[in-house]
């Protein structure tokens, strides 16, 4: 990393304006299904992405998110369903003619070409003359702050630089849609954070419809306009990041996004549940079992904790997270919960302290007992 991540230099603005003028195609996936042998990678996935929207597909490995992206890119064919871009069905269009820029998880720069030639490759395939091509490629490298690396070959660049060149290369063809297949997962933490911001800034400036596949919930929540959580080839929930965190539609989403406590609970009449000596209402709109053994799902910041002699739990551990401290407490029945408190309050709760943990009263999510 030789430079900071501000994406906005004089040379880049012209390109941005040109790309933005013709970008932002709406993308729709309808009932996409795809099987590999006996494995159903996609099971009727439908999703609409607005022009210029940054949508993240989030899920554990094997949930079908990459398959969905590859079908949109044209690298895989769906067994059933269709993909439309700007209202036109692209299912029969080969990848080379889809006008979609893609950044891959592994380093995908052509090893035999310099950074400049890599970025110019798509333009070359479109028959642009070399002078025009190099000027455009130079502008795009400038946009990702890599002007000085223009003559370097991929093996002479760091991983982060390579992915920025790959991003510039994908944007050079002025794609209708930008597809990002876990582009940050091979990078180390600090570079990942910088590139995350850079991608988001560029995407917003260019207004380009973007699909971003990741298994990293922090990445998805921090970058995307909306996040689609996938599981077993289906979409569990699509929502804005704060909505997804605050009102998860299913237990899977709740536990996959953010930190979640699972506490054994008893069902009461009228949509109430009771656990650790307190009762609470269940969240509206979320699927919940009507009977049987259940668990409560509750976020660390939605639990109360007080240092009380003879309380219902004992502090086992503390993790300092800056302004808050995450306290681990063991309750009866060998249940361990995590509770977030302002660090100033948590100072007194050293391991071994007897505490009283209770529900804060907010509606909670109920799931079948695991």
């Amino acid at each position: 990393m030789t430079s900071d991540i501000t994406a906005g230099t004089a040379g880049g603005d012209g390109v941005a304006a040109r790309i933005a003028a013709d970008s932002g195609a709406p993308v729709a996936m309808q009932d996409l299904s795809r099987s590999f042998g006996t494995v159903r990678a996609l099971d009727g996935l439908s999703l609409n992405i607005a022009p210029g929207e940054f949508l993240a597909l989030l899920g554990p490995s094997g949930c079908g998110k990459t398959t969905a992206l590859r079908i949109v890119a044209g690298f895989e064919a769906a067994d059933a369903g269709s993909v439309t871009v700007d209202g036109k069905d692209v299912s029969g269009v080969p990848a080379a003619k889809r006008d979609m820029g893609m950044v891959f998880q592994s380093y995908s720069l052509f090893p035999n070409m310099s950074a400049l030639d890599n970025v110019g490759f798509g333009l070359r395939m479109r028959g642009r003359r070399s002078g025009d091509r190099n000027r455009r490629a130079g502008e795009l490298l400038d946009m990702v702050d890599l002007t000085e690396q223009a003559k370097k070959y991929p093996h002479q660049m760091s991983g982060g630089q390579q992915q920025r060149v790959a991003l510039a290369r994908a944007l050079a063809i002025e794609p209708r849609v930008l597809l990002l297949d876990e582009p940050l997962s091979a990078l180390d933490a600090k570079v990942r954070l910088q590139l995350r911001e850079q991608i988001r800034v560029l995407q917003q400036r260019l207004g380009i419809t973007t699909i971003f596949v990741t298994h990293d919930q922090e990445e998805a929540l921090s970058m995307a306009d909306r996040v689609g959580v996938m599981r077993d080839g289906r979409l569990e929930q699509v929502a804005e990041p704060n909505e997804l965190y605050a009102h998860p539609a299913t237990a899977f989403v709740a536990e996959f996004v953010g930190t979640m406590n699972r506490i054994p609970a008893g069902l009461l009449p009228a949509g109430q549940v009771r656990a650790i000596g307190t009762s609470a209402g269940t969240a509206d709109g979320a699927a919940a079992p009507a009977s049987g053994d259940v668990d409560l799902l509750v976020r660390p910041e939605e639990l109360r904790i007080e240092a009380v002699a003879g309380g219902n739990g004992i502090v086992t551990d503390r993790t300092f997270l800056g302004s808050v401290t995450r306290i681990s407490a063991r309750l009866s029945g060998d249940v361990t919960v995590k509770v977030d408190r302002p660090s100033s309050e948590a100072a007194a709760m050293t391991p071994g302290t007897s505490v009283e943990v209770s529900l804060a009263g907010a509606p909670v999510l109920v799931a079948e007992r695991q």
Partner: protein, 287 residues
């Protein structure tokens, strides 16, 4: 071959690490012993041959009857074999890597057959079934050599492809608008330079040294000529063998040197070809 396999991820991901940091230990004595023993084992026959031939036999080689014809035939066969081998093997191995990765094991097994089956068996079989027009042309030998060269060519190209993330490179190229031909020509082949060079050198070395098939086919290739000539002049024949050996060594040195340099040199190796085709190559590939 090490040079081919060495083009892995490690070098690509980060800047090349400096030589510093690796502790240099003195190799134990027994390594030197083995090295010296091996050296003696290989060098004594060479020295003996050199003594037997004498230095003044070397210029004589060039003026012997049949020498030029035999050498020309061998070089012609080397050219035919190499071109056919590369044209057949490179697309095949690329296709298997991309589309039929599960067949790689099978292909590996098939390509080893020419080593397992003695050449004598192959040639007798070929002579049984080959049509007369082919049998009357030395080009038949070229076709047979393609089979013989298969194990070496396959392994070189396979190693070269394994060092690349072929699937991602091809998909990246496709997504940027390149069709299959453009992808093959501009992305895959330039990165297989070292592997193809290695396949070429091994094939050429094989053709220049093959005796059984050529002899049974009754063609006077260079090795056949050496053996025939030995009956009239031993020293000159041995000098010719040594010459052949040195030429092959030089080939191997060239590949090791070229393979030791990295992607940049591969690019320059192919840039001449690309410059020639730049004007015409674009037409059918552009959208």
């Amino acid at each position: 071959m090490a040079a081919v396999i060495d083009t892995g991820q490690a070098g690509r991901a980060t800047a090349p690490p400096g030589p510093a940091g690796r502790p240099r230990r003195r190799p134990p004595v027994w390594r030197w012993v083995i090295l010296v023993l091996a050296g003696i084992y290989f060098l004594i026959p060479l020295y003996a041959a050199l003594r037997f031939a004498g230095f003044k036999a070397f210029p004589d080689v060039l003026h012997q009857a049949g020498f030029t014809g035999a050498l020309t035939l061998s070089l012609r066969l080397a050219l035919i074999t190499t071109v056919l081998t590369l044209v057949l093997m490179v697309p095949t191995v690329i296709y298997v890597h991309l589309r039929l990765p599960r067949l790689r094991r099978l292909l590996e097994a098939i390509t080893i057959l020419p080593i397992v089956i003695p050449p004598i068996v192959l040639i007798v079989g070929v002579l049984q079934v080959a049509p007369g027009t082919l049998k009357s042309s030395p080009n038949l030998l070229g076709l047979e050599y393609v089979v013989l060269a298969m194990p070496f060519a396959y392994r070189s190209i396979d190693a070269g492809l394994r060092a690349l993330d072929l699937k991602t490179l091809v998909e990246a190229s496709n997504s940027l608008g390149a069709g299959w031909l453009a992808t093959l020509w501009r992305v895959v082949l330039p990165n297989l330079g070292t592997a193809m060079l290695s396949a070429t050198v091994l094939t050429v070395a094989l053709v220049l040294g093959e005796f059984t098939m050529a002899s049974l086919d009754l063609y006077q290739t260079f090795p056949v000529w050496i053996v025939n000539f030995e009956q009239s002049s031993g020293p000159v024949s041995v000098a010719a063998s040594l010459l052949a050996l040195f030429v092959t060594w030089i080939f191997l040195m060239v590949i090791a040197t070229l393979g030791g340099r990295r992607a940049g040199s591969q690019a320059s190796m192919f840039s001449a070809v690309r410059r020639d085709t730049r004007a015409g190559g674009r037409g059918p590939l552009a959208r």
